[in-house]
């Protein structure tokens, strides 16, 4: 490391410590401190921009019924309750209409393991912090380790379907999440690698 880099590092260190000291002084109701992970375009922010998008939330609904469309509405054909395993009821299930792929004829979306998330993983109506806490809590996330959650978020075809959502019943392309798939995967990995810090509520 050359001298310039050392000096630069010392300077950065001083700036960071004074910022921390300053922030502990001004943490009052009219000076809201934004935790580092809530900074715009931080890994946490990028990840949450995706997880709170309707492509994800429609299958993590509050209550028992899946949501549909960019306005997250309920239709009669989606009036099927989640059932015991998130796949619907005994004789009518997700597989009655959905397959493992999008259907351009009917506009019905599909991907492997098409199902509702368990009730303990309801995201609709929750804050980013609540969603993150729930996602990392093995009591509520189906006993998953952080590694397994990362795998689910970055590799599971049902999650990655969000970037290939196909066309709707009118033949119009469904809206994709506001962050690209590559940036989302990178953000999730960075957030996990840096300790999966969840900002305070």
């Amino acid at each position: 490391m050359n001298t310039t880099k050392i000096l630069y590092s010392i300077f950065l260190g001083l700036v960071m410590s004074s910022l921390i000291l300053w922030s502990s002084d001004v943490n009052t109701s009219d000076h809201i401190i934004v935790p580092p992970t809530e900074i715009e375009n931080s890994p946490f922010d990028l990840m949450m921009q995706v997880l709170t998008h309707q492509r994800c939330v429609n299958c993590h609904p509050a209550g028992d019924r899946p949501r549909k469309g960019d306005d997250s509405h309920i239709t009669r054909s989606l009036g099927i309750p989640r059932g015991n395993d998130g796949h619907g009821l005994q004789s009518i299930s997700c597989g009655t209409c959905h397959t493992t792929q999008n259907n351009d004829y009917s506009g019905v979306p599909g991907a492997p393991d098409w199902a509702l998330a368990p009730e303990s993983m309801t995201w609709e109506g929750k804050t980013r912090v609540e969603i993150a806490e729930q996602m990392m809590d093995p009591q509520r996330n189906g006993g998953k380790t952080p590694q397994e959650i990362m795998k689910h978020l970055t590799e599971h075809e049902l999650v990655l379907w969000a970037w290939e959502p196909g066309i709707d019943a009118e033949g119009l392309p469904r809206e994709k999440p506001p962050v690209s798939k590559e940036d989302f995967i990178k953000a999730v990995k960075e957030w996990m690698a840096s300790g999966a810090i969840i900002p305070e509520a």
Partner: protein, 157 residues
């Protein structure tokens, strides 16, 4: 692509676009016109058939997924000349009005009775969510209960 399956107990092979809805294969390729086209969006249930015993909306089911499967349409619901309890109950309760939606409802009901032989009204409301433009729902409910009773009297059916 060539797709081979069993339909109403008969082995069939057909050349078709694998992505085409199975409904087109059934109606136009195999000339089985009992299964109806309603919405084409998996919303109404008029096209309901059974694939390996499960109800499927064939307007939204790519033909390629039928490979090696057992398919039943309304034409194959009876056992030879003997009516399926759902068909008998539908006649007894004079359910249809225009009739267009009825094959789909009957297939959905047969699938329901396979899973829940004696359904409650709540089971019916939850599992039978097809759409009838003529609003024959009230008579259908009676017929579903009747079909369950008929099947219970004759468990082999």
């Amino acid at each position: 692509m060539k797709i081979t399956f069993t339909i109403n107990g008969e082995a069939r092979s057909i050349d078709t676009d694998g992505e085409a809805p199975l409904l087109w294969v059934i109606r136009d390729g195999l000339n089985l016109k009992g299964t109806k086209y309603g919405c084409g969006k998996a919303a109404c249930g008029a096209c309901t058939i059974h694939v390996d015993g499960m109800q499927v909306r064939s307007c939204s089911y790519p033909a390629k997924f039928a490979e090696g499967k057992e398919i039943t349409t309304i034409e194959g619901l009876s056992r030879g000349d003997k009516l399926h309890p759902v068909q008998q109950a539908w006649m007894d309760e004079v359910v249809p009005q225009c009739g267009y939606c009825q094959p789909g409802f009957m297939m959905a009901t047969a699938a329901l009775l396979n899973e829940i032989p004696n359904p409650t009204d709540e089971d019916i409301d939850n599992n039978i969510i097809n759409v009838c433009r003529c609003a024959t729902y009230y008579r259908m409910r009676k017929a579903i209960h009747k079909a369950a009773a008929l099947a219970a009297q004759n468990p082999s059916e």
